[in-house]
């Protein structure tokens, strides 16, 4: 076995082409930026035959050319990815092999896109997303990691080795290094992206890291939204003293430097006091309250239906709730072991709790602002004049009409939560040191960064692409929801 080069045999043609296109494209964009800033206003006029007059002159042509260049660039990159699938092992180089490893993800992505674009007119806001290039790129990036984490987490597919397996001799080795014969019981002859300072496969660790991020970040964001919504709606709707107190508390948390908070909360000493469990007990009760009130306010007048629905929703939630917060070792050991469905390690729980804790006040502020705005609408007044209860108005009249900005913020916030998780990992807080999550691996890698730069880069780029995807997705959603 030979060491792999970056691009293998197809690199010889495609790499110079891609580099050239990218360079020309970027120059074009910059020139266009400079010219655009000084360009005159476009005059709106149609040609005599009814067609539209485009922007003429050099700038207009430039805009067209950069558009085509962008298309070309995308096509070349796609070609690079696709051609690799059909090449024998080793010929496609490291990048080609990486592309091959992601084959299940690519297939899932293609299916998703083809289906979505075919039916986009029937899919509401989600469908409209496919009208915006930015939104599509963002959605693609996000779904890439979603699918990857599914294939890795549930089917153990994409990774090449075991994320914890150390193979001697491969410590800090550069990408494409050959795995020595007999050292590995596995099937894969290379460390695609090299080895880290404990001689583990960086590529495998990176794809395994996505599972952790994909589980914690959306879940934590959902909880933050539950807390923020449950407190923000009454603050905005009632106003007055309740609002003053809650807003003060929210500002208190917001004024707290996040890092300091993490350092104070996420230490083994604090975990030992059981504080995270109490905090969890407090924060995780919000979904129960939320759904309880949601159902009760709607079906209050129909006692039978109300009771049934409440029981159906709240009972499983309560079991989950107690399973989460009750833990054999912690001071909050209140739930019989027989009913305890799972235990969450203290480290993970505290990370989860702190992330929810830090995110909730911002959600609170957004929801409060939206509630303040929407409560002045006539349909809210109409609900009041027919004697609806305040919670019905908040949850059924106000909340559904605040969903647009909330969905956009939800996407942004998952990205932000991912960043926070990374920050925690970067400071070695909470998650166990051998955890393959991106923050921790960046932290591992940065210690020897000046000597061996390659271990830190893959998780950094992975995190960047996911957060970027979420941001682009949010931007696309915002733009599309404002249109029409």
């Amino acid at each position: 076995m030979e060491e792999l080069t970056w691009t293998g045999s197809m690199g010889a043609i495609l790499v110079p082409l891609i580099t050239l296109t990218a360079a020309v494209f970027l120059t074009g964009v910059v020139v266009q930026l400079v010219m655009g800033a000084f360009a005159p206003e476009v005059k709106l006029q149609s040609n005599p035959d009814g067609t539209l007059q485009g922007r003429g002159g050099l700038l207009g042509r430039l805009e067209n050319y950069t558009g085509w260049l962008f298309m070309l660039l995308v096509a070349l990159i796609v070609a690079f990815i696709v051609i690799a699938w059909f090449m024998p092992y080793g010929d496609a180089g490291i990048l080609g092999e990486v592309s091959k490893r992601f084959l299940p993800t690519w297939i899932a992505l293609i299916i998703t896109f083809v289906l979505s674009i075919t039916f986009k007119r029937r899919l509401g806001l989600y469908g409209k997303l496919f009208d915006s290039t930015i939104g599509m790129i963002g959605f693609g990036l996000v779904m890439f990691w979603v699918f990857t984490s599914i294939f890795v987490g549930l089917f153990d597919m994409i990774g090449t080795h075991d994320p914890l397996q150390q193979i001697s001799g491969l410590k800090n080795k550069t990408p494409g290094v050959v795995v020595p014969e007999g050292q590995d019981e596995g099937f894969f002859p290379h460390y695609l992206l090299g080895g880290d300072n404990l001689a583990r496969d960086i590529f495998t660790r990176m794809v395994h890291g996505s599972v952790i991020v994909m589980v914690i970040a959306p879940l934590a964001t959902i909880f933050a939204f539950m807390v923020g919504i449950t407190l923000g709606l009454p603050a905005g709707y009632y106003g007055g003293r309740l609002d003053t107190v809650l807003s003060f508390l929210a500002n208190l948390i917001l004024a707290f430097p996040v890092i300091l908070l993490f350092y104070l909360l996420v230490t083994p000493e604090i975990v030992a006091t059981g504080l995270p469990n109490f905090l969890a007990a407090f924060l995780f009760v919000f979904p129960l309250v939320f759904f309880g009130v949601l159902i009760n306010s709607r079906y209050k007048n129909q006692a039978g239906k109300n009771g049934l629905l409440l029981a159906l929703v709240l009972a499983p939630l309560a079991v989950l709730y107690f399973s989460t917060i009750s833990d054999a070792g912690s001071p909050l050991y209140i739930w019989p072991e027989a009913l305890d469905l799972f235990d969450i390690p203290g480290g993970i729980l505290v990370v989860f709790v702190s992330v929810v804790f830090v995110n909730s006040p911002t959600v609170f502020r957004i929801v409060r602002g939206l509630a303040l705005d929407i409560k002045t609408r006539d349909y809210v007044a109409a609900a009041q004049t027919r004697g609806e209860g305040p919670w019905y108005i908040m949850l059924w009249e106000i909340l559904p009409n605040a969903r647009g900005p909330l969905i956009v913020d939800f996407c942004l916030r998952i990205g932000y939560t991912t960043i926070l998780l990374g920050t925690l990992g970067f400071f070695g807080l909470g998650l166990p040191p051998e955890s393959p999550d991106w923050g921790s691996t960046i932290n591992e890698g940065r210690k020897l960064l000046l000597i061996f730069a390659h271990p830190a880069l893959p998780p950094a780029i992975a995190l960047l692409s996911l957060v970027l995807g979420l941001n682009l997705l949010a931007d696309g959603l915002r733009e599309e929801s404002l249109k029409d």
């Binding site: 300091l260 350092y263 920050t423 950094a460």
Partner: protein
């Protein structure tokens, strides 16, 4: 106006008290104290020994009392210990003398001793803060004008190519946290990996003598993350203003496009970003901690990490007080600035 500032100040002091109390409480939780006793005394202390060690040094008093003493509104303890020694808080646990002050807390300027650096906390904090101030100054110099220019250029013609390109740039930069951009920038510009080794990957030398070579990477790393955010705010604010009726009025009055942007739009558009810049400080602190750790620049953020990871309670408290204070002052400035920039509120 005066009344407004006074009320804001009141709220600010209340916030500061609450926050410092929380920090105080968290750092004085028993497991932390136990760890302190063991690191300061000896690692093989029994539980009772820890108790007496802490009791002799005033740590077992009730929390509000301890907080009051630390703040300097309650007289510092003088405890006759079980080991026969008398210790006074105001003599750094030495024996009290005639001149021993009654109060010695934050308010009196007694910030305590750092157990890691073996130095006065106030001393450490002020030096480190100076270093971080230098870093922040340059960050601001790069970030604010850059962000405002990008935002205004992008926002003045919504939907144009200029807008699209600049918006994408700012989205990319907000999506790149400091620990990612820092790692990438170091890998690209400070290692031989890509053949572009132009800058130094550590900023330790910049503490005494900051040069372009050793200071550029840390500054740009912090600036990039905040820049995208402020630029997006500015753009949003600018596009909103540009679609306002009064801009149409100006256009239909015959005002030229550059004049519309400069005379009519800019002032209205900058109100929102101003507050955003000010409210960025808590996040900038985040970036400072990461970047100082990554580039080994021993400033305020680096001190925070040292204090927190070594259970240096007094230093951690000092650092918290300063950071909470900085955050609150910037919030105050942002509030007042908002009122000043906005005639609708100023003159009413």
């Amino acid at each position: 106006m005066g009344l407004f500032i006074l009320r804001r100040l009141g709220v600010m002091i209340l916030t500061a008290l609450c926050l410092t109390f929380i920090v105080f409480w968290l750092t004085n939780l028993y497991p932390n104290l136990e760890k302190l006793a063991k690191t300061q005394g000896n690692f093989r202390m029994s539980d009772e020994q820890v108790q007496t060690y802490l009791g002799n040094r005033g740590y077992t008093q009730s929390l509000p009392v301890k907080y009051g003493q630390w703040l300097g509104v309650l007289p510092g303890y003088v405890i006759e210990g079980t080991d026969g020694e008398t210790r006074a808080r105001c003599e750094a646990n030495g024996a009290p003398t005639e001149d021993t002050a009654t109060f010695c807390g934050i308010l009196q300027g007694e910030w305590g001793q750092s157990t890691v650096f073996k130095d006065d906390v106030s001393e450490i904090v002020s030096t480190r803060l100076g270093l971080t101030g230098k870093l922040m100054f340059w960050v601001m110099m790069v970030m604010v004008p850059g962000a405002l220019i990008i935002g205004v250029l992008a926002g003045m013609r919504e939907g144009s190519r200029t807008d699209r390109s600049l918006s994408t740039v700012s989205i990319v930069s907000t999506a790149t946290p400091e620990y990612v951009s820092g790692v990438i920038l170091i890998a690209v510009f400070a290692t031989p990996l890509f053949g572009m080794q132009y800058f130094k990957g550590t900023a330790t030398s910049a503490m005494d003598d900051a040069t372009f070579n050793n200071f550029f990477l840390p500054v740009i790393t912090i600036a990039l993350y905040g820049m995208g955010y402020i630029a997006r705010m500015t753009r949003a604010s600018m596009t909103e203003v540009m679609t306002a009726q009064y801009i149409r009025t100006a256009r239909l009055k015959g005002v030229s496009f550059p004049n519309i942007v400069i005379k009519h739009a800019l002032r209205n558009a900058l109100i929102a970003p101003f507050t955003v810049i000010m409210l960025q400080f808590p996040w900038l602190l985040n970036g400072v901690v990461i970047v100082e750790t990554l580039f080994n620049y021993k400033g305020f953020g680096w001190t925070l990490v040292q204090a927190a990871s070594n259970n240096d309670i007094e230093l951690l408290l000092g650092v918290s007080v300063v950071s909470v204070f900085v955050v609150l002052v910037t919030q105050l400035i942002s509030d007042i600035g908002y009122v000043f920039l906005n005639p609708r509120i100023r003159i009413s």
